[in-house]
Amino acid sequence: MENFSLILAIVVVTALAFDFTNGFHDTANAMATTISTGALKPKVAVAMSAALNLAGAFLSVEVANTISKGLVDETGIRPEVIFAALVGAILWNLATWLVGLPSSSSHALMGGLIGATIASAGTGAVHGDALVTKVLIPALAAPIVAGVAAMLATRLSYTLGKKADGKAAEKGYRVGQIASAGLVSLAHGTNDAQKTMGIITLALVAGGAVAPDSDPPTWVILSAGLAIALGTYIGGWRIIRTMGKGLTELEPQQGFAAQTSAATAILASSHLGFSLSTTHVVSGSVMGAGLGRKGGVVRWSTATRMLVAWCLTLPAAALVGALAESVTDLGDWGTAVVAVFLIASSAAIWKLSRREVVDASNVNEAEEPAGVVTTAIAAVTPPPSGTVTEDLTATIPAPATIPAPATTAEPATPPAAVRVPRTR
């Protein structure tokens, strides 16, 4: 650890920050249905999920660097590229959290990596095939697989369990739901905390602090596990509300069916080598469970907004990653500008979120929040395809002008905007 340069330290801290956003972004996946059906109290649910995420981080040390391997050429990776990628991923995670939409953290990370790599090494360094087979197909397949399974399971459970009522049944469904939600949390800990460990290790290798092909050092495992657990415990209540109440109303039976199908699909897919995003799986299974009950209603407007967010995740994070990379390319001060920009925008997004607070106390109130959220959605919804770039420049950099250090944040955007056409 002698040659632990400043940029490496920055990358490690940023990676842990991403891990943290990943945790609170994805709490909803494991716990939204458990919270909305009342199987667990909100605070208890996130605490349990956090503990299991932490445990999951230690379960297997075999880190699969799936994020970087195959998708981009590792040779072009410098710590700055990883830093830029993380900036893109974090900002996208925060922006989607602000509008309360679940979106895949892994897609955000991959998008950031792709964008940063393109800006640094050109389009040739990204493998288009891998992009389609590893990202697009699974993203389409995940909600369908989990949705169909959850729908059939819900239907079956209502037909079979007609005579099941009373206290015993209620308690039973609660326990079942908690068990399957715990399984999802554990799987999430192994998958997503491992991704961050992989990223940090990759950065350490790229920066020459660790020998290539070495296992992640213990402090990396420990800090990544703690970061994701802390994020999970803080809880992305906005996303939990959308997932648990916004999509459909769930009864305990449906919650159990949804969570079981999600856990099964996640484990089956990762075991069979066709990894599906946890977020997509859970969203699909919640919708499926909603459709499976007679008289169950799925709010397609919410579903559509989620779909739009999914389509935007990769290009949006890629764009921010590319911009960030072109700025860090300008030299050390460029990296500093990006770092300041990241902190300023995160602070601005957090500030915006305080206008309409969602926390453990009001997470189960079904009403759609107005104000910030609706306007932000209005900005995102209209163009489902094509005009991604315009959309993003309209939504993401905007906060940079709001916060205090306007003098430092301001130069961040102009050079970036100028550089884009050249790097493409």
Partner: protein
Amino acid sequence: MEIDWAALGSVLGVSLTVTVGLVALFTLGIMGLSRRERALAQGDSVTLAVTGAYVCFAGCAAAVAYGINLIMTKT
């Protein structure tokens, strides 16, 4: 570019079968329990219902154990 239809298909198949199977098993267990509730209220025998329920739940527990095993041995 080749799409791994086999992997995709097996994920779909396994997810469907296991989910539906597990939920069915669990629902049967729940039914056993609520039958016990009713039987107790009427003073009938409860052995069969309770045994059935516990067999079902044992199956579910085994599935969860297998799931944890999958998570731990994943490479």
